[in-house]
Symmetry: C2
Subunit: 325 residues, 2 copies
């Protein structure tokens, strides 16, 4: 078994050996730019980890790992245009560095290139199932992004709808990465289901934790500005849960605060946080997050490989879900 760090290294080697730069340069240079910006490389690592549960030589899974990472970066390029985001991983986004048309077209060619890499899988009999899994996930990610945009202007977002949105936007690509690795390794249908459920539950738990840390995290460790979601009036789990459990006065006050853009930002963050604390929201959110984490671990346990092989999955989940306060 490879460690998470080793898998990342193997993937980065492959990425380095498969650059995108070709003519026309204006189309492909931005692809190399975003692909080299760094990041955790979580999704390709999940492809390789799932494959590595069954096969010691992980080479055959590298094109799928690459496809998943290209797709993830495609979605970042187009999302950053839609969100008008100037920065990604501390560097200019593609449409800021180049222009919006470049962002659109280079994004398009990335989505196509993801399929290009899936087709490099040597076992051709498995390609229809791989392409199908990938296509379903890709569609789900678009649906998640649309719901995320819809929710910005809706006042009727429910907790189940929110969970459905983060499942589509974040969790299902993790599910797809794990499933494709396992499908390529010809794992049993049961194992594929359990791996997928592990990914789904880890993905949702990870997003819930992000919501918690965005409001309650340690500024020195969080990496982004703590309180950012509050300032953007985002309907996170914390907000939706408060609207569910709080009394009418707190609900009304939160609704007013979460539709305001005051000049004293720290005051707003503090007031919203006070309402959350009064209603025990951090604990309630932690509780739900832990439920998803427990479900993930349950499904990991059900996978029919010797337990020692699951160690890296536990390590990765712990890393992703560790409290960062």
């Amino acid at each position: 078994m490879y460690s998470v760090a080793q898998l990342k290294e193997v993937f980065l080697d492959y990425l380095q050996q498969n650059p995108f730069t070709q003519a026309p340069i204006k189309l492909f240079e931005p692809v190399d730019y975003i692909m080299q910006l760094g990041g955790k490389r979580l999704r390709p690592i999940l492809v390789l980890m799932a494959y590595n549960l069954y096969e010691t030589n992980i080479k055959a899974a590298l094109p799928i790992a690459q496809a998943v990472e290209i797709f993830h970066n495609f979605s970042l390029v187009h999302d950053d245009i839609m969100d008008e985001a100037p920065l990604r991983r501390g560097k200019p986004t593609v449409h800021y560095k180049y222009d919006t048309n470049t962002g659109i077209l280079s994004g398009d060619v990335m989505l196509i290139y993801a399929y290009h890499y899936l087709l490099k899988v040597e076992d051709k009999t498995i390609i229809p199932e791989i392409v199908k899994t990938f296509t379903e996930v890709a569609e789900a990610v678009c649906i998640g992004q649309q719901y995320d945009m819809d929710f910005e202007t809706s006042n009727e977002v429910t907790i189940p709808a929110y969970l459905m949105m983060i499942e589509h936007k974040t969790a299902l690509l993790l599910v797809g990465a794990l499933k494709m690795g396992a499908i390529l390794a010809k794992a049993s249908e049961e194992d594929i289901v359990h791996l997928g459920e592990f990914g789904r539950n880890v993905g949702i738990a990870f997003q819930l934790q992000d919501d918690i840390l965005d409001t309650f995290g340690d500024p020195a460790k969080f990496g982004k500005r703590v309180g950012g979601d509050i300032l953007q009036n985002k309907k996170t789990f914390l907000v939706l849960k408060t609207l569910e459990v709080a009394n009418e006065i707190d609900k009304k006050q939160l609704e007013i605060l979460m539709s305001s853009y005051p000049s004293d930002e720290e005051k707003k963050i503090k007031e919203v946080r006070t309402i959350f604390q009064k209603n025990n929201i951090q604990n309630l959110a932690d509780q739900i997050k832990n439920e998803y984490q427990d479900k993930a671990m349950y499904h990991l346990g059900k996978i029919a490989v010797v337990d020692s092989k699951k160690e890296e999955f536990r390590a990765l989940a712990t890393l992703l879900l560790k409290r960062n306060e």
Copy 2:
């Protein structure tokens, strides 16, 4: 054999029976909108025609026809954003009717949906080759669009480069449509090559004819404003050929005209047309167009099916390439 008109009807029936409307409505309604805007449906017809050369029941080819039409419309949605075009087939473009973000994301989901339809092909053993052919063509179309945008600001566009650009942007999708129909029908490799060459040469001839008609067509029959390319300073085949064959004075005058945006538009059109006429450009362009048309017919002749089955291909090529003056 089905006639072109019958194939269009069969395709439109399938399109009608497979609507895109589902939740989230803001993502999929624009897909239905653009798919219902009409058009010649040339590309799906080519898929079905190629399949119909070998098989009488064309039902199995319908998902591929749908995939190709979805892809074509995806490229229109994103190109219209990049070109800031307000109208498409006389109706508002997607990003004008909705907004740019909708155009981007609904376009993305269309590209993914094209694959979704390819995966509906019942013979799973053929899917890897179909998906590969499709993916190569999709990449080529993006490359063609990038070259088209690059050429707008370049003063060093050559005729070979221009032909390469229109081959990528227009012809290769016709090639792909024909090839996928033939691959599904398990046609011989020779037939697939000849069908592809037929499509490539028809596609280039069609684009050259569009260049000619845009300047010399009958305003009553052309559908767009005659002289539109001249007013937009587009480096069409006519311009590039003039820069190749004309004397220095004509070249200089054309260069000045083709970088101007005068208020008297009709005067500019007339002056550019006069330079073309003096240099016999319409005939030279016709000559090249006819060479491509002849090559298309040569390859059509080489396809190993009885000649009577090729009648609809000849009818379609004649329809596409008929002089419209």
